[in-house]
């Protein structure tokens, strides 16, 4: 898709708002279900190896992904298995730099794809969300109307 919209009940709103700017860019990049590494050349993405590091004692490869649209993301891959342990996205929000760190775990094999069933997120180092996923299904038919901007 090309347009991003959001409903934010926490701001007392029950109607959809169009989203623009860096947040929209981030949402769009999240729509790349295959992840940044799959077919990265075709997508126009460049990947740099920052180095081998540890996260809480776990050895990881630290990669920096720069997408075609200029947005970047850092990936930390488990050195033993190659799976994503952590991702870091940085974006400007209200003129300030916001760094969102996601720790991924509880991977399960769903139709041959490893999916993290637990995601912990922090914003500038402060925990903001802990997501536990009960069930993942791929290629379930979805009405196109679901993606229409609801006014």
């Amino acid at each position: 898709g090309t347009n991003v919209w959001v409903i934010n009940p926490m701001m007392g709103s029950d109607t959809a708002q169009e989203m623009t700017g860096p947040q929209a860019d981030m949402a769009k990049s999240q729509a790349d279900f295959d992840g940044d590494l799959v077919d990265y050349k075709t997508k126009g993405t460049t990947i740099d190896l920052i180095g081998q590091e540890t996260i809480d004692g776990t050895k990881v490869y630290h990669l920096k992904v720069t997408r075609k649209n200029g947005t970047t993301r850092e990936l930390f891959l488990d050195a033993d298995t190659g799976i994503d342990v952590r991702t870091i996205s940085t974006m400007e929000q209200n003129g300030q730099q916001a760094t969102i760190t996601s720790d991924l775990s509880n991977y399960q094999n769903v139709d041959g794809v490893m999916v993290p069933f637990s995601v912990k997120q922090s914003l500038n180092g402060t925990p903001i969300a802990q997501m536990t996923i009960d069930k993942v299904e791929f290629n379930v038919p979805i009405e196109t109307s679901l993606f229409k901007l609801k006014q």
Partner: protein, 1036 residues
């Protein structure tokens, strides 16, 4: 990378990832056993360097003396630490104004007071402080300045003081032309002389000036100045240098500060320490100099050049000079005269850094011994940055209140006390700190018998008894009697209560003193325990060119007194000149046992003694030789009162040591505080690991273990008080356990306190010391990070029923998961109003719960204990009554959620069916029945749920009134009021009536509709099924 590759990589057998590391404690295994910063930031701490971004003056970088580098992106309203992986002592911070994303940091403060820390060279960031790279010069130890050549970013100069305590060659001026990859030493005088300042001409950058400074500290003496000092100039970008002498004083010089007038670079000022320290001015680019005033130089110019030498010229006016010193003074006539700048009365003295916004010279940012201040009016008024917790503590103590309070002495910021956690709100704030002593604070502790009395001391054993209720302070320092030799007290004199006798206080001079009457009288408990070497007792002559008799070099004194907690007759004393003394008969006889230690150079400072907590013959001793340039780690233990000693410096322990503690419960659990952080050993010193969670490699000067709450309380010299909450898990960590894949570890019982509210809105510009996380702590160990498969953490009640499932932590090492001791929040019927009081579930009953950690191939269990708040006075029967009412109201909400949602569903479905009826049927029985169902459902729904907009439009119905009562009863831990109990009954009656109406609606009324629908060939309307929820007894 192709997807096939990704999947293949994921199919690596688990065995490969599980290659067993040897079962030795490391930083990762300590895991979530973290330190939390309590502050204080109300006083902040010493700031050594400040720089800003000229083109974006909202961005400031602040280098602290012992707490790392902090960045503000909002002109100083808030600060974030950006250098916590690196040495914490900062000498220089320089933004490359050509490319402001590039920031240089020189580690190792250059304001070389007796307590100064050391650095490990130069660091560089090219992304505005997010990532850092070490750029060498690791043996410089102290860096005074870094200068980037204007318009040529890769050419940078480092001005290194070098070693303070001994000679070394890596000092002077270093130049790089490749952005720091390689350095060339371009100005060097001798191994005792380093660089104290450097300035580059902003218009002709081949022209530059450097101040060379000969300086030496010894444990007992300080010398600023000597033949090595001098002012130098280069005209070829630092390749060659010429010593400038014309107009400067003859004889030895000391520390020199240089300032170029940015608006007229041919004009320079130099503050030159000599026998007649004063300010000089040159108007010919440094070739010749003239004193700027007549008579004796102003105090601000000549006081303590080693600590204050600093001149800053206004960016737009070459005659306007600021002199940050003991106080801030200003000259508006090119240095001919100085006047004090108004500091508004509340600005800390002892200034070390001043940054003036080049685009707006009315904005000044000042670095002091008490943190950062910002002025928007050229110094008339100031705002304190109250967000910088970089206090430098010497010692810390606790009391037995609930929550316990901590007591700490701070470098140049007096002594302070604060609760270890705030009862109201979620953080210990600046206003929670109480000032309990003045000067440089050292030992401060409460009277064990009277919490309204606090003892404190400032430099040289100025011991004081502070009466909290009246504010009266009594000077209780002992003085020498007639014919007695003068008393000698260290800068940081030993001062401690007895562990066994609540009436006894001990104070260390050259003798051990004891008082049993709160300091009103003192008895000598020992002879002179030091070497009493007259050569090391020359404090009055100390300072070099500028005398500096501050007690900082007092020597041949007792610096640690350690009374045994097991035997009142056993007392240890350690001296700054290397004696380890013990008495086993309450002070009648003393034995110096240091000769038995072996392996430590003689006269090495005895920085700490820990009396054995489990055997009275045991003691642990740390030695600190850094004041003679010996940076080694010395830690020894004895089990036979000092006859024999063994080293405990096993692998992993680093830095010169200040303190060691033995755990109160587990004898083999040791903690060591070094200049480079906190270290933990599980095996009595054979192996050590640095605790890295929440704690940078900051100097740990002192620590103590709270005997009731089992917290480790740290006095850091740069990051204030730090608390490691609950040592219980570490006490149960063993090598055997480290080898397991997973294990639950015990924690202390969790207190079921009712959270207190705090209604205030302080904004962001205030530091908040974190409370310990609320709730019960579930602690477990994972040998490696959990990545694949399920990992679930359940809490089960005594009956084996799961009362709560929690997201499990997955990190390697110790994980700590916080359970708020509550059930899930009640289900609430859909409504516009949020019903905030219903967003939390009820607290579970006190008692023991089982915790169970389940992975795909492993199950481990343990327990967690919940206890009633010992501070709360509620009898068990009252707590039970409350719990019963809360659970009724909890169930009521679940019921109401179903009733509300079900009535809305029936109404909507009935309306939808009605709307879909064809014309012919639209007027028939079915239509009427549907209308009746929809109307009745809507009416019932309206009586249950507030369908207005909520907030100010609220029209509370049964749901809202139940939520309100639920919140009200939950917010107090004891007996609900009669009114609350009665109202609970009223609500229960209304709910019963509503259920009756719903039974009618969902029974006969719905049945009538469904019969007609079936007759018409339509599917009947289904009644939503009630979800099973705790407390709900409603079934359709």
């Amino acid at each position: 990378m192709k997807r096939a590759l990704v999947v293949a990589a994921l199919c690596v057998p688990a065995g490969l990832a599980a290659q067993a590391p040897p079962p030795v404690l490391d930083s990762a295994a300590i895991g979530d056993v973290r330190a939390r910063a309590l502050g204080p930031a109300v006083t902040s701490g010493r700031i050594a360097a400040i720089d800003g971004v000229a083109d974006n003056p909202r961005v400031l970088y602040v280098g602290s003396a012992g707490g790392g580098v902090w960045k503000s992106s909002n002109g100083g309203a808030t600060f974030t630490p950006i250098f916590d992986e690196y040495p914490m002592s900062i000498g220089a911070v320089t933004v490359d104004q050509n490319k402001p994303e590039t920031v240089w940091v020189g580690t190792g403060e250059a304001w070389t007071r007796n307590s100064v820390s050391i650095g490990k060279g130069v660091y560089k960031s090219t992304d505005a402080g997010r990532n850092w790279t070490a750029m060498g010069l690791t043996d410089t130890e102290h860096i005074a300045a870094i200068a980037v050549r204007p318009r040529r970013s890769d050419t940078v100069y480092t001005c290194a003081v070098g070693h303070l305590w001994n000679s070394n060659d890596e000092r002077g001026v270093f130049k790089t032309t490749d952005g720091g990859k390689t350095w060339k030493k371009v100005l060097f005088v001798n191994a005792d002389t380093g660089c104290a300042d450097i300035e580059i001409d902003p218009q002709e950058p081949d022209v530059m000036y450097a101040a060379m400074w000969q300086v030496r500290r010894l444990p007992y003496f300080f010398t600023s100045g000597g033949p090595g000092s001098g002012l130098y100039k280069s005209t070829d970008g630092g390749e060659h240098w010429k010593k400038m002498t014309t107009g400067l004083p003859d004889g030895d010089l000391g520390r020199i500060a240089i300032a170029i007038a940015p608006s007229r670079p041919g004009t320079l000022y130099a503050l030159v320490e000599s026998r007649d320290t004063r300010l000089y001015r040159s108007d010919d680019a440094g070739e010749s100099w003239k004193p700027t005033g007549e008579g004796k130089a102003p105090l601000g110019i000549r006081v303590r050049p080693f600590y204050f030498a600093n001149i800053v010229v206004d960016p737009t006016d070459h005659t306007r000079l600021y002199n940050p010193s003991l106080f801030l003074s200003l000259s508006t006539n090119g240095g001919r005269s100085f006047e004090a700048v108004s500091l508004g009365g509340g600005v800390h003295g002892d200034l070390h850094a001043l940054w003036i916004n080049p685009k707006d010279p009315y904005t000044l940012v000042l670095g002091t011994d008490g943190g950062v201040y910002v002025s928007r009016d050229r110094g008339t008024s100031w705002t304190h940055a109250a967000t910088l917790p970089v206090a430098q503590l010497y010692h810390v103590a606790y009391d037995m209140q609930r929550p316990y309070r901590v007591y700490a002495g701070l470098q140049d910021n007096g002594s302070w006390s604060a609760p270890s956690r705030a009862i109201a709100g979620t953080s210990v704030r600046n206003g929670d700190w109480t000032n309990i002593g003045v000067g440089d604070g050292f030992n401060a502790f409460p009277d064990p018998r009277d919490p309204s009395i606090v003892y404190s001391e400032y430099q040289g054993a100025q011991v004081r008894r502070y009466h909290l209720q009246t504010g009266e302070i009594k000077d209780i320092r002992p003085r020498a009697g007639a014919g007695e030799p003068p008393l000698r007290f260290n800068w940081n004199a030993a001062f401690t209560p007895s562990a066994l006798d609540p009436s006894a206080l001990y104070l260390g001079g050259q003798y051990v003193f004891r008082s049993r009457d709160r300091g009103d009288s003192w008895q000598r408990l020992s002879p002179d325990l030091t070497t009493n070497d007259p050569e090391k007792q020359r404090q009055r002559e100390s300072g070099g060119l500028t005398k500096d008799n501050s007690t900082a070099e007092n020597h041949c004194t007792i610096v640690t007194i350690a009374p045994s907690p097991l035997d009142s007759q056993v007392i240890w004393a350690g001296t700054d000149d290397g004696n380890v003394q013990i008495t086993r008969d309450g002070g009648k006889t003393w034995t110096n046992v240091v000769a038995n230690v072996g392996g430590v150079p003689t006269h090495t400072w005895v920085s700490g003694i820990e009396p054995g907590r489990h055997q009275k013959g045991t003691a642990f001793v740390t030695f600190d030789g850094h004041r003679t340039g010996d940076m080694k780690t010395y830690l020894y233990a004895t089990d036979d009162f000092g006859r024999t000693w063994r080293p405990l410096t096993g692998a992993g322990l680093e830095g010169y040591l200040h303190v060691v503690r033995q755990d109160l419960v587990s004898p083999s659990l040791l903690f060591a505080g070094s200049e480079g952080g906190l270290f933990v050993s599980l095996d009595a010193g054979a192996h050590w690991a640095r605790l890295t969670g929440g704690l940078p490699a900051v100097p740990v000067y002192d620590m103590t273990i709270h005997p009731r709450d089992h917290d480790l309380i740290l006095a850091t010299h740069g990051r204030g008080v730090q608390i490691v909450d609950d040592l219980t898990p570490l006490r149960h960590m063993t090598a055997e356990m480290l080898a397991k894949n997973a294990a639950i570890l015990p924690s202390r019982p969790a207190v079921q306190s009712i959270p207190a509210t705090l209604q205030d809105f302080p904004g962001d510009a205030e530091f908040a010391g974190a409370n310990p996380p609320e709730g019960a702590v579930i602690t477990y160990y994972l040998k490696q990070r959990h990545l694949f498969g399920k990992l679930t953490l359940d809490v089960l009640d005594a009956g084996g029923k799961v009362v709560k499932s929690l997201p499990a932590g997955t990190r390697q090492g110790i994980n700590r998961v916080y359970w708020n001791m509550r059930l899930d929040a009640p289900k609430s019927a859909a409504a516009p109003g949020l019903g905030a009081r219903a967003l939390v579930g009820p607290m579970v009953a006190e008692g023991r719960y089982t915790v169970r950690l389940t992975s795909d191939d492993d199950v481990v269990t343990g327990t967690v204990d919940l206890m009633a708040d010992p501070l709360a006075p509620h009898p068990a029967a009252d707590r039970q009554l409350r719990q019963t009412l809360v659970m009724q109201l909890y169930g009521m909400q679940n019921d109401l959620a179903y009733l509300g949602d079900a009535t809305a569903s029936l109404r909507d479905e009935a309306n939808a069916r009605g709307a879909a009826l064809k014309d012919k049927a639209a007027q028939g029985d079915l239509r009427r029945a549907l209308d009746t169902l929809a109307g009745d459902a809507d009416k019932l729904n309206d009586s249950l749920v507030d369908r207005s907009g909520g907030l100010l439009e609220a029209d509370p119905k049964l749901r809202e009134r139940a939520i309100d009562l639920y919140g009200a009863v939950m917010s107090y831990g004891g007996r609900p009021t009669v009114s609350q109990q009665d109202f609970g009954a009223v609500l229960a009656g209304e709910l019963k009536a509503a259920r009756g109406r719903f039974a009618e609606l969902s029974g006969p009324t719905l049945q009538r509709v469904n019969d007609l629908l079936t007759k018409a060939g339509e599917t009947p309307i289904a009644l939503p099924s009630a979800p099973a929820r705790p407390g709900s007894d409603l079934r359709p």
